[in-house]
Amino acid sequence: MRPSKLVPLAAATLVAALAAFPLSVARADDAGDHADARPAAHAVHDLWVTVQQLAGGDSAAQHPARPAPQAVPAGGPTVNLSDLSHPPDIDAKLHAIARLPAGAVRLTVPNGQARLGDYSIGSEQTSTGDLLVLHGNADVFGTLRGNLVAYDGDVTVHSGGVVTGDVLAIGGLVHDQGEVDGEVRTLSAATPARTAAPPLSAGALVARNAAGVVGVVLTLLALGFGLVLFGRPSLEIVSDTVSHSFARAFVTGLIGQILLLPTFGMLVVGLVLSVAGILLLPFAVAVYALLVVVGVVGGALAVAYAMGETYTRRRLARGAMGSPNGYRYLVVGLAGPVAIWLAWALFGWVPIAGDLIRGAAILVTWLIATAGFGAALLSRAGARESFAGRIIPPEALTDEYLWATPQFGVPAVRRPGKR
């Protein structure tokens, strides 16, 4: 808005405020029983409040349903304000009453009074008994001997004002510039504490996700290269177990996942019950967690190794150039799942498609991790070759095998499984 337009608007506001001021005072006079004691300061305050209301900047103006100041007739439910130590209880009692239209409100405050709309206690005035103000602000310039509750309004104990009891504002604030002998309390629905962070742009999102994927891939490659370098025999046994017994490995991995928690629970309970084992509990927990992580990550790397080996051997069989080695197997095997995650990193911001890609990536990763975990369990972390397809069972030994590689000293007619 241009400044030139602000001046007439401010002037009009001021004129309207001055015109409305006598009406406001008269209205308060009708309602209040302390109008004679109204000091000049209070009148200025009223003028300021009226101007604020006309300008739309006052909290009261934001409640268009705020009623005209009036006393609440006795009758109806009773609300005891002698104990304000449990504000939620007071809130619960007043909640239903405060929703009634102004004319229908009936309320009994033992040893006190209830008011609708704004209410003030003048500086020369002393009010005795508890005071409840519904849908209005309570201003204390004088003395209130009792407790004060404002529902849907603020309480201001002005400088020089005294409240000998407690003060409670439900859905409002308390400004205690004066003296409050008791407790000052407020209760309101929580305002949002933190606004949500602004959403990232598509470019920033792609960069962030891609950096995350690259970081994970580099970590896996480092772990995988370490495994190939230092634990190749075990890695190959787990890898062969996946290749030759995939279904069995997958089912074992699935069952293993389900049994992880119960096994952990039994371990903890067992150690605790054995009394002496309590001392080992932290170590056992740490070792168990470590074993699970090693089983899952190592197994997944073994699956990647198996995938890479299969693909590379096929390529070599077709005449492609290259050397078959463990590092290549690992890189090639990881490329597949990583490609899906990279697709998510690039297109994850696309509605629906991004979620679908992420779902696919999670599913593939889970399948790999489950099969790998199962293979690690089946092969006892690469120590057992039973499911790796490396041992030829006796019943599979045919004459052809024996002819090709006869066992020294054992006549063919007496070979195992044949009479």
Binding site: S85, H86, P87, P88, V174, D176, E179, V180, D181, G182, E183, V184, R185, T186, L187, S188, A189, A190, T191, A193, L279, P282
Partner: protein
Amino acid sequence: MSGSRRARGGRRGGRRGAVALLLLLPAAATLHAQTMMDASASRQLHGESRLDARIDYAAGTLRVAPADAATLYRLQLRYDRDRYLPLARYSAADGRVALGVETTGGPGLRVSSREHLAQEATVALSSRVDLALDITLGATEGELELGGLRLRSLSLRNGASRTSIRFSRPNGARCSRASFSTGAAELEVTGLGNSRCAEVALDGGVGRVTLDFSGDAAGDTRARLDMTLGELVLRVPRGMGLRLTSDRLLASLETAGLTRRGGAFVSPGYERAMHHLDVSLSSTLGGVSVEWIR
């Protein structure tokens, strides 16, 4: 409409109902989300000279700091209405106040996501009254600035929490005892010299505890430290005389700069030091280290 068509329509309606139910489930879950409330309680200072303050806080973030000159105590709270009630109970007769939250009796803490630890509390206490402070924390993250208060005694019971206590300014009164009891927690106490407590006691569980004895000590301090399955770091200012006796079981002890004398480890120039710190240490399956600070 034939009977079979009606039946098909009925089945279709049932399916639609089931789909609608499935779609509504997340909405229902949302409706059951926490209802957070803001509450505050405060009391003006009216010539009180002492206050026994108890703070009970089960979950969320807690801050404690000195109050302004006109306030005896102030609690500002954001709490989960479904699980907790604001606690602000003052007894003028014996000068006691209990602040924090108390449970409504609902089952357990809902901390399945970070949002469930959204409770926040700020407690301000008068620095003009002699204060006995008793704090019990649950699953919380606490930041306690106790410097400048007039602490007579301090007791902290720590559950599964991370708590940082600072004495940035000297205590305005002579403190008889500061005791810390931790469960699976991380506790860091900085500026214990400023606390001017004659005795410091620690009953530590699993976790890491750091006790920093820097600050403007008013006299000698005795420390009885009992640590189980955790790491304890003692930070001692150079110039303070340190004498440490230990009773350890499968626990390591790093005594940088201390010499063995009889059954104790003693710092060089212990006798000549203006202030002394005598530590009685009991540790099981943990690590204890002494660090010298300026």
